[in-house]
């Protein structure tokens, strides 16, 4: 080994990749997001082959690989059951709210799969099986955060 390699101070270049992306939601997803935005309703759709009700709705069933039809839309409840959760204790610039908060997989009434979303309040009462309800944002823009978060429903309610 020649010595210059041992005598050179290794440099580090600090930089970033900062490009805006504009993702197409597609026809199916647009209908779902528009219902959140305009009607505060959560729509799913049902695969006529396996009968599974999806949320967010899909253009096709991934398991059956069949297109889901125009007549297979269903309105789901805005309430559901927590199937899984985690309370997040670290920060990320991409998080929409400050920790601690929870991510949860929530099975909405009428759906066969779970939707991932946020829970912020009463984290001490959060457990699998807890019943939660969607809290819609006041200012809705046609994205998944039109549901601002889910809230735990009290037993007596």
């Amino acid at each position: 080994m020649s010595d210059w390699r041992d005598q050179t101070e290794p440099l580090v270049l600090k930089g970033q990749i900062k490009l805006p992306y504009t993702w197409s939601v597609g026809e199916t997803g647009s209908r779902f997001l528009i219902a959140l935005r305009d009607e505060q309703k959560i729509l799913g759709n049902r695969c006529s082959n396996c009968d599974k009700v999806y949320v967010p709705p899909r253009k096709n069933c991934g398991f059956c690989f069949k297109e889901i039809g125009e007549n297979d839309w269903v309105e789901l409840g805005t309430e559901g059951i927590v199937k899984s959760y985690t309370v997040v204790h670290f920060e990320s610039p991409l998080q929409p709210i400050k920790p601690p908060f929870a991510y949860a997989l929530i099975q909405l009434d009428g759906a066969d799969v779970s939707l991932m979303h946020l829970i912020k309040d009463n984290l001490d009462r959060l457990e699998n099986g807890a019943r939660v309800k969607a809290k819609f944002a006041d200012n809705r823009k046609g994205d998944i955060l039109d549901i601002e978060r889910f809230e735990i429903i009290r037993e007596e309610e």
Partner: protein, 386 residues
Amino acid sequence: MAKRVAIIGTGQTHHRSHRLDVNGREMIYEAVNRALDDSGLTIADIDAIVIGNMDHFESINYVDAWSVEGSGGVMKPIMKVTTGGTTGTSVAIAAYYHVASGMFDKVLAIGWEKNSESDTTGAIVTCSDPVWDRYSYSGAIPSLATEASAYMEKYGATPEDAAYVALRERTHAQNNPYAHMYGRPITLQDVMDSPMLAYPIRLLDICPRTDGAAAVIFASEDVAEKLTPQPAWIQAASVRHTFTWFGDVDQRSGLQSLQRASQEAYRIAGIKNPVDDFDVAELYLPYSYAGLKWIEALGFCEPGEGPQFIRDGHTNMGGKIPVNPSGGVMSTNCIGATALLRVAEAAIQVMGKGEARQVPDVNRALATGFGGCWWSDVMILGKEKP
């Protein structure tokens, strides 16, 4: 045991500048279903999937995982292969090896891109080395301009020569209802009058950006002939990704990677004279000047003879070796799908499914991919089992 491999079906979207009606997964689903229909298969028949695109064009990490609902990968082996512009041929070649290995009988290759979702040049700039090149790099055009200028200087080629290539591609695209530029014919004068981007390259000398997907099904010799009357057999696949540093490529000389890859592929497939031995070629020509020069690297004609070869009409429909009956990259450029479309179109020609763009009696077809650091991939397809 190593198996011989054939393409038994292809599918592609109707390529457009913006496909807002579908997200990426749904666009892939369209192409996959068309390939399944073309092969007479259902997704249950597919044993494995290879998919490719460019991460920073849609900013989706682990596309193999993200895509499964549209690609058909739920409870199947799926892997992602990506190499830049050559992604499509890399995906095709990976699917070929999946089958050739004897491990899978029927394998689906998918290439896709939704270029409308990002600033294409901005995304391409991220392929340059962050330490050395990204500060000044402005996309592919300057290096292409370098090649074009040097070629003109060396052989006296003219912008009009190149315009004939652009004209050919666009004219052929009018026979291909899937092409992004279908229904939009141009004249030689349109090319010459289009805005200058970087001398000598004008707007109509380069490829567009496109939303689209392609899917191709590869099958082993054990099943191919049972599934389709005329499979397109893979007779050779060869790759050279020669350089790692932009500055090591000398655009003033011939396209080294294409020379090496094609020579190897010709040797494997027993090609002696490409113009006679091939009936059609689907070449990854990202800009018009490549249509003059790269056919020289492929041995269609001697160095410097490209312009005359084009003007003589040898590469037009009805010529000695029609090039890009589909309209080529300059008529459709969904980047991760682009090179796979070359393979798909070559297979379509061998299978005789080209309809308005079909070249009569194709026995053997050549497909190429280009990308990365002036890299090349070559595939040879034919009616005869290798």
